[in-house]
């Protein structure tokens, strides 16, 4: 991994490894249930519905929460006993609002860089750098309170990045952003992972969003591991074409019977075997002169990934 940045490699150690990790709140609520997973450096998408246990996992990885049972290792360190060392090498971007509105962005990030252990001068320089990398230039001398949601998300990312961590933990980084803002944020995360060579865990409840930038996906539900795999193996398994025609859907289904299509409301789901599937579908539609309304590869949603046939 990250051949351009050999210094980044953490030896033969896994980026993150958990063993039977379990967290029970108040003796009843089981946030994590015997989660065993290990991932290699890269951009990792951690997907699951709200309440699936993503934030609990992140807090355990940061050493902020002790697991009820099981163990975790981050960058080869035990967050339970070596929390300080883990937190010095990890950057964390929380999901919720966490910026004091009365502070100037540059001052806030500089201050937080010092709390991460950077000497005063280095802290100031790296704060400017980090803010520049996330796309904040002159605005960084204004109070955070006057920022748009997109700018605030960028400051949150900058403070996670300021101390040059080996791993970034991003909790729902696109929350509250409009489509363009989401796009820009994903682009930025992808750049940080690929060009800066920093490993990233991106938490999201939107699979469609993270799958585009990740090279590994970890899906959890109800605190249990559903799947953890390289993204290539996942997309081939879930590749499906959605075909919608304004009329004659039955006719089309018959014509495509060899491809074993499934009805899904007004649409037809055709398993994607390769490029030729597109041709077959288009030919069938053209031959019958059906009004084609939609033809695209399905955007996976967490729900699909969680459905039994996919999880199996």
């Amino acid at each position: 991994m990250s051949t351009e940045h050999p210094a980044r490699t953490v030896g033969r150690v896994n980026l993150i490894a958990t063993e039977e990790l379990t967290k029970v709140y108040g003796g009843r609520v089981r946030a994590l249930d015997r989660l065993t997973v290990s991932v290699e450096p890269g951009i990792i998408g951690l997907v699951g519905a709200n309440g699936a246990g993503k934030s609990t996992l992140i807090k355990i990885l940061l050493g902020l929460l002790p697991p009820t049972r099981g163990s975790a290792r981050v960058l080869g360190l035990d967050p339970l006993t070596q929390g300080d060392q883990v937190r010095a090498r990890v950057g964390y971007m929380p999901e919720h609002d966490c910026l004091p509105p009365d502070l100037i962005a540059a001052e806030l990030v500089t201050h937080l860089a010092r709390i991460s252990g950077l000497p005063p001068t280095a802290a100031r320089e790296r704060a400017s750098e980090a803010l520049r990398h996330v796309g904040l230039y002159e605005e960084r001398y204004r109070q955070v309170g006057g920022y748009s949601t997109g700018m605030k998300q960028r400051v949150k990312l900058a403070q996670a990045l300021v101390h040059d961590p080996d791993l970034l933990l991003l909790d729902e980084p696109t929350n509250g952003l409009d489509p363009a803002g989401r796009e820009a944020m994903l682009e930025l995360i992808s750049r940080i992972g690929k060009e800066f060579g920093i490993s990233i865990v991106v938490c999201s409840h939107l699979l469609g969003e993270v799958e585009r930038i990740c090279d590994t996906l970890v899906a959890i539900d109800g605190g249990k591991l559903l799947r953890a795999d390289r993204i290539e193996s996942m997309t081939t398994a879930t590749g499906v074409l959605v075909v919608e025609v304004d009329e004659g859907i039955e006719e089309l289904a018959e014509a495509l019977a060899a491809l074993e299509p499934q009805r899904d409301g007004p649409a037809l789901l055709v398993p994607l075997a390769g490029e030729e599937t597109y041709d077959q579908v288009l030919r069938a539609v053209a031959e019958r002169e059906l009004p084609l309304h939609r033809l695209d590869q399905r955007h996976h949603r967490v729900a699909e990934l969680f459905s039994p046939e996919v999880a199996a």
Binding site: D84, R87, A88, I115, G117, P119, D164, E195
Partner: protein, 282 residues
């Protein structure tokens, strides 16, 4: 050469990482500056500097009267006692500024995900408030000392004045620890600054009638001990115990009690503060 500024790309950080002790020191300094609005807008500076201006003015008047007439209006510990209303106002505004703001903005998540522990945060904030309060009392005392020392005829006089000054600084430190720990523990429970400020003032005010009531209805011993029930009179008792006569019934023969209760109060409120940050969410 072109005039284009090249994006030099991402640079790794190879320099020193100073760790937890440095993190705590940085938070302490940042918070101490916050107490006086340094590095913030002019609006944030107004209150602290107004209070500081008031106590400095009083000190200048005391020093001036002494220089001209030779009369000592108040000695160092009396000066601290006299400033109690301003001290209460100061902690009521500054304590919420230091902790309530952080509770409300959610910035604690950013602190606790760094090599700084929850109790480190509490200690740094407490140290900052106590320091800010001590400076508020020590600076005017310094004015009084400088004026007093210059009006002395002999070195032994200056020496004696320095001893009194040192005692005053120690008493100011005790004052700062007592009022700082109480105010910060209360403010750390409330996210809204205005509410927190009200709660701090109330905590210092509601205890005053208790003292008054005990003084009126109690027997002789109850009157001596009445001062234990409010921070300001508690300090007055300690003052009497450490420096002799004060203008109050207490501490009477119970000086040691006042000392012990003061230590207990500081320990209890500091403990409560640490507990609070062990549990606080986010």
């Amino acid at each position: 050469m072109t005039s284009v500024i090249h994006d030099i790309g991402y640079q790794r950080y190879q320099g020193a990482r100073l760790g937890r002790g440095f993190a705590v020191r940085s938070l302490y300094l940042h918070s101490l500056r916050t107490a006086y609005g340094l590095g913030r807008s002019a609006k944030a500076k107004i209150f602290s500097w107004l209070v500081a201006g008031l106590v400095l003015t009083v000190a200048a008047v005391v020093a001036g009267v002494r220089a001209i007439t030779g009369e000592v209006l108040m000695d160092y510990p009396e000066f601290a006692d006299g400033a109690v209303v301003l001290v209460v106002l100061f902690v009521a505004v500054v304590a919420p500024e230091l902790v309530s703001r952080d509770l409300r903005s959610g910035v604690l998540a950013l602190y606790f995900s760094r090599p700084l522990r929850r109790t480190d945060y509490a200690w740094a904030k407490l140290a900052a408030l106590v320091s800010a309060l001590w400076l508020l009392l020590a600076a005017p005392m310094l004015v009084m000392f400088v004026a007093g020392a210059f009006s002395m005829d002999s070195w032994s006089g200056v020496w004696r004045e320095a001893g009194d000054f040192a005692g005053g600084l120690g008493y100011a430190a005790l004052y700062a620890v007592v009022f700082g720990s109480i105010a910060l523990a209360i403010a750390s429970l409330i996210g809204r600054r205005a509410v927190a400020a009200g709660a701090v003032v109330a905590a210092f005010l509601v205890t005053t009638p208790v003292v008054g009531l005990l003084e009126v209805v109690g027997g002789e011993n109850a009157q001596y001990l009445a001062g234990l029930f409010s921070p300001a009179t508690l300090m007055l008792g300690v003052h009497g115990w450490l420096f002799g006569e004060v203008d109050a019934l207490y501490p009477g023969p119970f000086g040691l009690w006042y000392g012990v209760v003061t230590v207990a109060v500081v320990a209890a409120f500091t403990g409560a503060l640490l507990m609070r940050y062990r549990r606080v969410q986010r």
